[in-house]
């Protein structure tokens, strides 16, 4: 059973290839089905793998597929590591992935119906399946290099999918620019990961997880400094992929892609690769406490920073994007604190409710688009929350699932988000009180902006005619919403905490499951922390509802927070001007340097030397052609001079004159 591990990658890959070559022949309906089936089969395999692991007590199994590189002492193979950590990721990726694939068949059909061009439909599913294959390569690898192949692959698919509607966006290039931004910022992170891999190989002589970690555990003293460098570089890689400070700037722009993409890639799976990387390399991070602290603080700063920005956004997807960045900050802070299980737990629950929220927001957006279509409106922005309102009652399934997702994100018990977020807060409370304070504030802000979003979207009266005529999405889209909502409710129960020293059935299932791969300690549940966080979340939620219930009567009204905080609010809305800062500090100097080198060195220097050489030859030619001016007399003089010279040459110099003199009788 375990030997089927490579199928997780090969099945979606096959799906992508089938759709790539036969997509047009298959037609829309069937190509969508191919993609969904590929994803579902991969999920089936993952479940099988999980079952196998349960059967053998969580023991890791390596499943080799093919030999890859073997140069001297360096060898790396295409091999899969089936252990609890990777199977957890596989289940999340394929499970949520399949649901999103199903949703996407409906979503993209609506998109094609509204905007035309049905060839796109197949292309979309090729990319989606390709993404699944790459992501599963990433999580299933047994060595850093194969993981990096998957890492780059998901980056590529992210680029392809963000820029999916490549001719749309601001000025016709907005989407393409967002895709490039994602790719380039990711590249900075990839650089960090590559340097880390070089250092790992240089120290341990291998890139395969097992031998690497064994080497580091055996050589702790010798490797003390290099481990610090390696872990910081790994952090850089994780920060790029998981959108942490300072490399988070691509994620909000990535919302230019279709909503299923935002749900799958930028909420549930690709962005979690950074956390997976750190969890996988926990041996290294445990040996470098300073780096772990840096990780923790980066996560914390990101968590609170992104939460403040989310408060002030008016685009429904932007709020969720910054929320994702913030929640990823929670996860990164958790693994930085050494709470690997807490981080992974939050990763799983977050995948459920964030994917749910994104898909539901897609449903809302399309509902408004349907309303726009109904009233022949082509100018309203269907993603702007200020244009919504009064949608409660019009979208029966979407509204309830959205509510569940929002409450789960806000951390209201007994929904999933509460259990995972609480575990992170508990660990912070016990070991790093400053981090606990900051994360708690971030949690309060989270509840607030979700309450704000709920009220702005569903509450009050419809602020535009389009919202007034919104209608519910089809079953193919609402069914995944329902399933994800159920998961958001019960998902927390996989890791019920230790309430007392007496163990009970179902306690800490997830932690025990993950113990086979990452270290963990079972901490007793703290009613103090839990009730405090719940109370704060509820308070924050109600404040938001109260504040926004009567705030927006018209789409152009000012946000109540804007009235309260004035300048601070506009700073939050404009993302603390970080993008602009990067533009001035990094992008503009870089472009100027490029121009300088391009014009100065390339065109000026190298081209100039080559063309001037050619010019020199031409000048010489022109000079020499002066000899031929067509003047007959000139030619005559030349001929005569030449003849004289020849005579002198052949008959000797002075001797000739002497002979002449003798001949004259002198």
């Amino acid at each position: 059973m375990v030997g089927l591990a490579p199928l997780t990658v090969l099945l979606p890959l096959a799906g992508a290839l089938i759709n790539m070559f036969f997509g047009r022949a298959l037609g829309r309906e069937r190509s969508g089905t191919v993609a969904v089936v590929a994803a579902a089969l991969a999920f089936g395999v993952s479940v099988g793998l999980a079952g196998a692991l349960v059967g053998n007590g969580g023991q890791a199994v390596i499943v080799p597929l093919a030999e890859w590189i073997s140069i001297g002492s360096f060898s790396v193979d295409w091999a899969f590591q089936v252990d609890t950590l990777s199977v957890t990721m596989m289940l999340v990726v394929t499970g949520v992935g399949t649901l999103i694939h199903i949703y996407a068949t409906g979503y993209m059909r609506e998109d094609v119906a509204h905007h035309g061009d049905s060839g796109r439909y197949t292309r979309f599913f090729v990319y989606l399946n390709l993404f699944l294959a790459a992501m599963l390569t990433l999580v299933g690898a047994d060595n850093y290099l194969m993981m990096f192949v998957g890492w780059e692959g998901v980056g590529l698919c992210s680029f392809l999918l963000i820029g999916f509607w490549f001719e749309k966006g601001e000025a016709g290039t907005g989407n393409a620019k967002a895709a490039m931004k994602a790719f380039i910022v990711n590249r900075v992170g990839d650089f960090g990961l590559m340097v880390a891999m070089f250092m790992i190989f240089w120290s341990a002589g291998s890139l395969t997880y097992g031998p690497v970690f064994e080497w580091f555990e055996a050589n702790q003293a010798a490797a003390a400094t290099v481990v610090g460098a390696i872990t910081l570089c790994l952090l850089l890689g994780a920060a790029g992929k998981s959108a942490q400070v300072p490399l988070y700037v691509w994620l909000p722009d990535a919302m230019a892609g279709p909503t299923p993409v935002s749900a799958l890639i930028h909420a549930a799976t690709m962005v979690t690769a950074g956390i997976y990387l750190i969890a996988r390399s926990h041996v290294l991070f445990e040996m470098a406490p300073l780096s772990s602290d840096v990780v923790m603080w980066i996560g914390t700063i990101t968590a609170i920073g992104a939460a403040t920005i989310a408060l002030a956004q008016s685009d429904i997807k932007r709020v969720l994007a910054y929320s994702t960045i913030s929640q990823l900050g929670f996860m990164i802070a958790a693994v930085g604190m050494g709470a690997y299980v807490a981080g992974m737990f939050h990763l799983v629950t977050h995948a459920f409710f964030k994917a749910l929220l994104f898909l539901a927001s897609g449903s809302v957006i399309q509902a408004v688009e349907r309303g726009m279509h109904h009233v022949h409106d082509h100018h309203t922005d269907p993603q702007d929350m200020r244009n919504m309102g009064g949608l409660w009652g019009k979208l029966p399934v979407t509204q309830w699932t959205y509510l569940i997702g929002a409450l789960a994100l806000a951390g209201i018990p007994p929904l999933a988000g509460f259990w995972s977020k609480d575990e992170i807060l508990l660990d912070a409370y016990l070991h790093h009180p400053e981090v606990y304070t900051i994360l708690s504030i971030a949690a309060v802000l989270t509840a607030f902006y979700m309450g704000r979003q709920l009220v702005m979207v569903f509450g009050g009266q419809a602020r535009t005619k389009a919202a007034g005529h919104a209608s519910e999405s089809p079953l193919v889209m609402t069914l995944p919403l329902g399933i994800l909502a159920v998961l958001s409710v019960v998902g927390g129960f996989i890791n019920l905490p230790k309430f007392s020293d007496v163990p009970y059935v179902g306690e800490l299932l997830f932690k025990n499951w993950l113990l086979a791969s990452v270290p963990a300690e079972a901490v007793k549940f703290s009613w103090l922390v839990a009730s405090l966080s719940t109370a704060l979340a509820l308070l924050s939620l109600f404040t938001a509802v109260f504040l926004y219930a009567s705030a927006y009567d018209d789409a152009r009204d000012k946000d109540p927070l804007a009235q309260m905080f004035g300048r601070l609010f506009s700073w939050m809305r404009d993302k603390w001007y970080i993008d602009e800062l990067y533009q001035v500090l990094i992008i503009r100097p870089y472009l100027q340097l490029s121009k300088l080198i391009g014009r100065g060195l390339d065109t000026g220097g190298i081209d100039l030397s080559v063309t001037s050489l050619g010019g020199l030859v031409r000048e010489l030619a022109v000079g020499f052609s002066g000899f031929q001016r067509g003047l007959v007399r000139g030619y005559a003089i030349v001929m005569f001079t030449g003849a004289v010279l020849l005579l002198v040459w052949f008959y000797g110099g002075p001797g000739l004159f002497v002979q002449l003199a003798r001949a004259f009788g002198m």
């Binding site: 052609s625 000899f627 031929q628 001016r629 067509g630 003047l631 007959v632 007399r633 005559a636 003089i637 005569f640 001949a663 004259f664 009788g665």
Partner: protein, 103 residues
């Protein structure tokens, strides 16, 4: 016996005539004058041939003079025909103006 004129005088005269011919070719602008200078050069060569023929009593020198005269006549015929043709288009026989074959 009358004193024979030394051959060297003839050769010297030939040289002087040749030099005058060359000077004419190199400095005259009128094509007809250039042709006349060329004739002068040819005739100086004839004089040299005849002088040496008399000195060595070898008549092949005088025979050669016939050849040169024939060639000179032919050349003049062709050359004058060319000049007439050129004059028809250019209305001038200044050789400095005939530089259409410049490179």
């Amino acid at each position: 016996m009358l004193a024979t004129i030394p051959t060297s005088w003839f050769v010297a005269l030939s040289a002087v005539l040749f030099t005058m011919g060359v000077a004419g070719v190199l400095t005259r602008r009128n094509s007809i004058k250039v042709f006349m200078s060329v004739e002068l050069m040819l005739n100086s060569a004839n004089l040299a041939f005849v002088a040496f023929a008399r000195q060595y009593m070898d008549q092949s020198g005088q025979l050669f003079v016939f050849f040169i005269m024939v060639v000179a006549a032919a050349e003049v015929a062709v050359g004058l025909a060319l000049i007439v043709t050129i004059f028809r288009t250019k209305r001038s026989i200044d050789i400095d103006n005939m530089s259409d074959l410049k490179g």
